[in-house]
């Protein structure tokens, strides 16, 4: 079974803090993704990566950056957390391009106060 793990299930941070969300997949997948999930808005793509050190912006990259130094690990960074970044963050991975399903981690519920 593909396993995607995220470093924290719940996180509470203060406005202005730098926040790191970590994601690890164990199936040697090429592609990794970060989404945020908000009620009534579904999942919105923040960034994705199709190879080590490669990244592409999604629909809502503002206020976020990413890092992929190793194939199995994809980090999401909130440079200066704000209250409007309070959300559920989901990481996913897939073996290839559009034909392939994505496998999701359990999510990190981030609250910024």
């Amino acid at each position: 079974d593909v396993k995607v793990t995220q470093s924290s299930r719940y996180l509470v941070k203060r406005t202005g803090e730098k926040v790191f969300l970590e994601c690890v997949q164990d199936m040697d997948h090429e592609n990794m993704f970060w989404y945020r999930q908000d009620p009534g808005l579904g999942l919105r793509l923040i960034y994705f990566s199709y190879d080590v050190k490669m990244k592409e912006k999604g629909d809502i990259p503002e206020g976020y950056s990413v890092s992929r130094e190793k194939k199995e690990r994809f980090s999401l960074i909130l440079e200066s957390a704000s209250t409007n970044q309070t959300s559920m963050y989901l990481c996913a991975s897939s073996v290839g391009t559009g034909l392939y399903e994505q496998y999701f981690g359990p999510g990190t519920r981030l609250t910024v106060t």
Partner: protein, 113 residues
């Protein structure tokens, strides 16, 4: 850019009722279509997917979906729901050679025992 619409935000059914959740997408090219489910407290998991061939796709737990190209639709159906089907359901679309997966806003299904 491709987009996905799920018209039902919250559906409430009694056990044994039939289910149909609507999904429409806007994209002119060849698409791949997915339905994901998120049970309470669990991560998103794939219900079924369509790439090509028979437009009627069968998935896990008795779910099926029909791709109607002329209507740009991929509706999810189940003839008889159970209380355990209570979850949020997301329709998603990718283009054939694209890493972007676009999700609908989700439909919350509540099945009353």
């Amino acid at each position: 850019a491709q987009s996905v619409s799920q018209h039902n935000h919250h559906v409430i059914l009694s056990e044994a009722a039939s289910l149909e959740l609507g999904c429409n997408y806007s994209y002119g090219g060849t698409v791949n279509l997915f339905w994901y489910v998120q049970y309470p407290g669990q991560h998103l998991q794939l219900l079924l997917k369509y790439f090509s061939g028979d437009p009627l796709v069968k998935g896990i737990k008795g779910f099926e979906a029909e791709f109607i190209k002329s209507k740009f639709s991929f509706n999810l159906r189940k003839p008889s729901v159970q209380w355990s089907d209570t979850a949020e359901y997301f329709c998603a679309v990718t283009s054939r050679n694209n890493n972007d997966m676009r999700f609908g806003a989700g439909t919350r299904l509540t099945v009353k025992p």
